[in-house]
């Protein structure tokens, strides 16, 4: 049984039983049952005959092993971009166009050619080699707008290797930008240039092949000189980027991890918790978090191991006091809270009362806002506390105020940023802070309208920045429901606004407040009064939440 060797990028073959790669740990043979002719009944059995240690066990089966652990380090690595979709580079049409991974195998002493660098079409050593950078990186057209971080230095290393092994080889590197950021990287770049490598700023638009010589003609606009250049090369290496591993979605749903728009796992905080996942007890290391080189991966892995070790050795953990709590009497066993919890921190079985795993609860409050029966509440951000703030803010002259709910991490901090940056915006806004925009229930928004708010804003973090994995997606759903509800009640739905404002977007905060003030000016007193009447709370609808109590002014102290 002969199969293409995956480790050698299909440039050599392997058997059904093989060592994956020379540096494999443990360095033992594996029997690939997908390739084996069959073990039940045994079709061939030659490997068992050849093994004098009797190490071949045909009865061995794949097993699912369950372990209870206190921490998980996610280090699932990466996939390499497949350049077959980029037809202009002819990767599938021309034999002498190879990827940087294939180049790596061809020049490696342990590779299929034993380190003798030859081109695939005629097994001759090429003397003119071109490297094309950013293949599958920094390219929004192929869905990969990010820099892969490692390709520039990998190419520089390759050109130095070639210059060292074969001084007669002429290398040309086609690039957009060379990103040599790191210790001694700039020095390597300079050495590569001194060794004779030519760097041409500009990415080729097309590659053609000479059918006789199988040489490749690369046409490129040199953006430094502004001239169109044609290079005849014997081999072209596509410096391919990297992409998130294909199993990331499965791991993300298993561990309730969130992902960035690029598809990599999102850390809890980019500066303060760069190796912690938003889910407590889960740590990230290496490429799964973002593209990085070996040194950074090793640093991150060490940090993740230390964080995990600290957690396991602590004996006890400290959690924030703002976790959720279930009122077992009021709970109707519907399970909505468990469905909306981004952390899977609510345990619920059909027909049973929900319960909160406090160590896993991060305190977003989305469960509390989703419960129609007021049976689950968030400590220190209870419905009563937030509604009391709504009442207090709108107790006097509500028609002159723009009422805003802002999430603690981004929008509220965006307001702070606007303030400390001395940006001017109307003084009519009144902000009530919640931990997450998902904590803002329908009832809170409606109560603000009942209290006479002309305009209500719900604001939270941008999708990629949500501090509670993806809790703010529930905010979107809730606001949509509210728009429908307001429209049905004859209230202008535009009076409820939704904005994503990050902590750095002070300018956006100020702009939104100016827009809302303009909107407030268009809301008439009649509209406010109509909303008060039309949105009146139905008694007994939400038994856990006490009906809004009228604001009673404290009697003036007698003198």
């Amino acid at each position: 049984m002969v199969r293409p060797d995956e480790f050698q990028m299909g440039l050599s073959s392997r058997k059904a039983i093989y060592i994956q790669f020379p540096q494999a740990v443990p360095c033992s043979y594996i029997l690939n049952m997908d390739d084996c002719l069959g073990n039940n009944p045994i079709a061939c059995g030659k490997c068992a005959d050849a093994c004098d240690k009797r190490a071949i066990n045909y009865d061995d089966r794949d097993q699912i092993i369950t372990r209870e652990v206190g921490a998980v380090v996610v280090a699932i690595g990466l996939d390499v971009y497949d350049p077959t979709e980029l037809d202009e580079y002819g990767y599938t049409r021309f034999e002498n166009v190879i990827s940087s991974m294939e180049f790596e195998r061809l020049i490696c002493a342990g590779g299929p050619t034993g380190g003798h660098f030859v081109r695939p079409s005629d097994q001759e050593r090429p003397t003119r080699i071109g490297f094309i950078q950013c293949v599958g990186s920094r390219n929004p057209k192929v869905g990969r707008p990010y820099c892969s971080n490692i390709c520039c230095m990998n190419t520089i290393k390759d050109t130095l290797l070639l210059a060292d092994h074969y001084p007669d080889v002429a290398n040309v590197v086609f690039y957009q930008d060379i990103r040599a950021v790191g210790k001694s990287f700039e020095d390597m770049f300079q050495r590569s240039k001194e060794a004779g490598t030519r760097y041409v700023r500009g990415l080729p638009g097309e590659i053609e092949e000479d059918p006789e010589t199988r040489n490749l003609v690369v046409t490129v606009e040199n953006t430094t000189s502004g001239k169109l250049e044609r290079h005849e090369l014997e081999m072209v290496v596509l410096s391919v980027g990297v992409q998130p591993a294909k199993d990331m979605s499965r791991i993300a749903s298993m561990l309730t991890l969130s992902r960035t728009s690029d598809g990599f796992f999102m850390e809890s905080h980019p500066k303060l918790k760069p190796v912690d996942a938003p889910t407590r007890g889960v740590f990230l290391a290496g490429f799964c978090e973002s593209p990085k080189d070996i040194k950074d991966s090793v640093c991150q892995a060490g940090a993740a191991a230390s964080r995990a070790g600290a957690l396991l050795n602590a004996g006890q953990i400290t959690i924030e006091a703002i976790t959720s709590r279930v009122d077992e009497v009021a709970c109707t066993r519907c399970g909505v809270c468990a469905k909306v919890c981004p952390y899977g921190a609510i345990v619920w079985k059909k027909g049973e009362v929900a319960s909160v795993v406090e160590a896993a609860c991060a305190g977003c409050g989305s469960c509390s806002a989703s419960c129609q029966f007021g049976a689950i509440t968030m400590r220190h951000f209870t419905d009563e506390q937030i509604l009391a703030q709504v009442h207090a803010v709108l107790a006097e002259d509500p028609q002159d105020k723009v009422f805003a709910f802002a999430c603690n991490w981004c929008s509220y901090a965006g307001g702070d940023m606007a303030g400390i940056s001395r940006m001017t915006y109307p003084a009519s806004n009144r902000v009530v802070r919640t931990m997450c925009s998902a904590r803002v229930s329908e009832e809170m928004v409606l109560e603000a309208f009942r209290c006479g708010a002309p305009v209500v804003l719900v604001s939270g973090c941008h999708f990629a920045d949500c501090h509670y994995i993806n809790a703010n997606r529930q905010t979107v759903q809730r606001v949509h429901k509210l728009w429908d509800k307001l429209e049905k009640a004859g209230v202008r739905p535009e009076r409820l606004q939704l904005e994503w404002i990050s902590a750095a977007e002070g300018q956006k905060f100020a702009k939104v407040m100016r827009q809302l003030e303009e909107l407030r000016g268009t809301v008439t007193r009649d509209e406010i009064e109509h909303a008060r009447e039309a949105l009146k709370a139905k008694p007994g609808k939400r038994p856990g939440v006490r009906a809004a109590e009228p604001v009673v002014e404290a009697p003036a102290a007698q003198t």
């Binding site: 941008h462 999708f463 990629a464 993806n470 997606r473 949509h480 728009w483 739905p493 535009e494 409820l496 606004q497 939704l498 904005e499 994503w500 939104v512 827009q515 909107l519």
Partner: protein, 51 residues
């Protein structure tokens, strides 16, 4: 390939209505192409019963 449909959205800030391809189950932050507001209402198609 995930199913893609053309959906209609309305900006609740400036009133701009526009259509955009939507991939089923996509997780995308929306903003108005005209005023950049995030108050984007997804106008669902009304289903009418045919006799």
């Amino acid at each position: 390939m995930a199913e893609t449909t053309i959906e209609t959205f309305r900006c609740m800030m400036c009133g701009h209505e526009y259509q955009e391809p939507v991939v089923k189950c996509e997780d995308k932050e929306r903003s108005c192409p005209k005023c950049r507001s995030n108050s984007i209402r997804h106008l669902k198609k009304r289903v009418t019963k045919e006799d």
